[in-house]
Symmetry: D4
Subunit: 172 residues, 8 copies
């Protein structure tokens, strides 16, 4: 059975990564959510990735903060696509995690998304875009989501738009 594996370096990352798993659930995409640290539980991480791949994991999403090595460690153990989500978990606002995730050496890619919640959400979308290459139904759902998002922008705009003579709605 094909599914997305979400690995978090710390239990605390779930507060943010919940935004990722929720979207996968909303789209009906199967996923698995585990905690495994590149540093505190290296054996577990190595074992997990093999088992997950054997069970059918197609894409791995790795969320970690600070010197975020988790995505890189996963990348070194499989040729499945790895999506890295840098967490904002230190005084450096996630810049440490971003550089630790994206600046991978040649031949060992990590598909890096934005720091924090936007990245958590985008990791779900990116995983689905990858799965949708071979899943027409999911592809259609993603296109419908785009249309819905564009409509939402129109709704938002109508709420705010002013007529040209400048009668401004009250700020909210």
């Amino acid at each position: 059975m094909k599914f997305v594996s979400i690995v978090m370096g710390s239990k605390n990352d779930y507060i943010v990564m919940n935004s990722c798993s929720k979207i996968l659930k909303d789209f009906g995409v199967k996923y698995e959510l585990v905690v495994s640290s590149a540093h505190r539980s290296p054996e577990r991480t190595a074992t997990y990735i093999q088992e997950a791949e054997a069970k059918g994991a197609q894409v791995f999403i790795a969320a970690a903060g600070m010197a975020a090595h988790l995505a890189g460690v996963l990348s070194s153990k499989t040729v499945k696509p790895i999506i890295g989500v840098p967490m904002d978990a230190s005084a450096l606002s996630g810049m440490d995690a971003l550089l630790s995730t994206v600046q991978m050496p040649a031949g060992m890619p990590v598909a890096t998304v934005a720091i924090g919640k936007a990245g958590a959400i985008n990791s779900a979308y990116l995983a689905m875009q990858i799965l949708a290459l071979d899943d027409e139904e999911l592809s259609i759902k993603l296109k419908e989501d785009r249309i819905a998002k564009a409509k939402k922008v129109e709704m938002d705009s109508m709420e705010i738009e002013t007529i040209i003579d400048g009668n401004l709605p009250d700020p909210y």
Copy 2:
């Protein structure tokens, strides 16, 4: 009819960009305020800019955060001046939006102002400075505003100034 078009990438930007529209209103400059995202509603954005230009938009103000592409997208669709306001909308304090807005390639300028509220205010002033090149009345208003600002500084100083023997007013 000549007017300023304010385009925000997200409804939430209005909390900050309200400072922009308020100033235009105070100076009696006509404007239009819409939400349109470079990414979530690309067609709407493309259509809007053409319609706005046809209706008389002289200057576009684009406010966006993170990978702030909105001003750049507008810049690619018109030769009217585009003012970009980087929003502080991520863990990176608007540095991402600043660089995404200002570092435009040769031939595709975006007139970038400061991050956040100061930028929102300055986008209004910059738009008015551009319009005032052909509007003597507005030019006079801008000069009067400068005089008022300078007076305000004097008032502020009088509130705080101490005599030289150092009798300090209580901090506030």
Copy 3:
């Protein structure tokens, strides 16, 4: 026919992106290489992505520098996976392009890789990892490449290793 589309914002990017196309060629993966700018040729970019998708493009690789909007523009036009390669093309050493590429808003992911040549190479690998989900032959090639890379490390080490009493080979 399935293929990878490589889009560069400028002809100059080919000096770096040649490393991407070369790897795809070495692995026997079909690709197409075009120049199209988000800002200088927005219509061409919009048209191209539709045509490429219709022709069978599965994954898009977008390389751009400075305020690198190209990957984001592609992301807004398709639900195929977009890989962004930030170019080091300004005084800011590619940090501008990195942030402009990776900090995408929620729902519009760009799979970002490292700045410059390492990123160019990794964009090819990431694209192949995605295609390999549905291409067992390619998956095997990627695994063999990993084994070769690990062997190369061993060779490199043998060239350098010293015995414990510290007889150091001459530096090179």
Copy 4:
């Protein structure tokens, strides 16, 4: 007579700002090019801006490096639009000049463009976009320039494009 005033903080900036004046000349836009430092010649700078404005300067372009105060000083002396070009003139790669130019306080805008040569070019384009609001001929020239730029992209692409089976042209 209407013209663009280009003010450089140092004679050395001409090496870069020559790209600005050349474009204005190519488009037939009148300009004046002077050296005046915010710090080394403050009186000259103050006097110049008044005289230039009296002579017909519509837009000021200020190029400066390091703690680039020139654009801000001009902004404090006139309500004409000021375009700031941050020069890459220190160990900090122009980041100092960028922040010193763009982070202007509320009410005192500087229309900031990219660091270095791209910014020098864009300052010319932005100045022309502003002048074109009241100059239909210039507006048409700017639109033709866009078409030429888009065509140039097509030419660049044809030079590089490969057919889908991956016959790569030699890198250049």
Copy 5:
């Protein structure tokens, strides 16, 4: 009469600069505290510095945030020493003000101190160190202050020190 002139770019800076004036007062050093903006009140700033110098100002302390030009403007108008205090007044945590203050071009120095409150305090100490070159009484006070500071460290340590077997006082 010799005194220190403290110039703040905005009334709000007094919340921080109060730490500066308080120290001068505690040491019995005469000072004057005014608000004058480099951008909003350039004439007032130019006039003030001349008058203050005529009245006996020996050292100027300039506090400003964002594109902090105030210290540089003062530096351009006098050969008295200028101390610059970068304020933390934007999303960029004072890094913009630091670079705008310290990266002055050759020949126009600003004696820059730390961002925010530590800098406000140090601007007072630096001004007193300069005045003390010609004021033995003040020099002695500064040396006594150093002794007091060193004693304070000892007191702080005694409050916290633990004996070697690790009986830790409760954290506070």
Copy 6:
């Protein structure tokens, strides 16, 4: 008697460094905790390090913020290993302290750990790893701690893991 010396530049650092001393206490490692500033009490610092070394200090942990010179000063006075903990004590989020601690010139090393609390904890672990080279009992404790940490990760994961059909536990 062998012990670890913890030196803090300011009493306030104890709020964070308490995490360091607590771990040493938990592992039964003797330590001493003092306040001594590189700048405010240079003689005390110089004297202390000699006395501490004479008493048996094996490793020094130095915690300081801003222009964090404390670890460097200790490094210049002894050939015992110095561990530097950069404090997040200014507007710059500890980046100033990190660079002031880690970028030591050749021949004068400071073993730098992460900014803030994670660094405080890691300074204790690093000190123990050094002591454990000659203390088998401590080495075993450190290995047991690793096992406990790995188990904790498993427990955390079980709390969060979802079954593959996506029944997500409520976020916490």
Copy 7:
């Protein structure tokens, strides 16, 4: 037999790390120098660290650039002290490697030294300081080295010193 293990992520790092091994050799400290990548040869790295530890490795020095995970991977596999040397191996001047090395999570320390050659040298000194805790002879050598370094400073100064009337030696 006790020795220092130097692990480099890439053969190219030897150009810089040669400065590390040379110092160890000069001090007569046994060492081993290998290439092993955290990402390209994860199994080799895991195997190596166990074997090295079994053979007598006391301290590990890990040199890596970009998303420098090598030191962290070693740290996760042993409780021996790990020294991390960030390499300047990308457009980001080693800032990526510094943050990837130093910002380790609580409980998994890496003793980080400066970027590049100064760090390579300091990694050797730090390793020797650690070994010297249990090696009086090495401790004396390190103290003698300090004396030599101080003498060298005096020699350098004599070469440059000028007498007070300002007769400056020619620059070199």
Copy 8:
């Protein structure tokens, strides 16, 4: 006899600091130039500052790179004004030295100037501005220098100025 003391952390800094001593010599200001490292020769540094102060040093200029502690160490030993010049001596382009120099804790100021050569020059000017408070002759020289600098700007401008019809001199 009153003089300026220039202390460099390394002999190599003379290549840059030569610009400082040259200016002092040109203005007839007595100075002394020594090499003394905060870290490699701490005792020499401590002794030197006392001797220099006893001999008549009024102002100290400290030039250092990387974790530039030299100015801070001097500041902790005297209440004479200390001017810090951050050297560009590492991969981080002097940002490390800037933050290590300017971010001094409350009560221990360092008058920081720009990174590198501009800072070297400005350290001389700042020292002279301080000495000129009590030296009318020097004060006049500084004012004359300002007039000369302003004249130089005019000369530079005449070399470059174009007439308004845009006859551009050839770039140089």
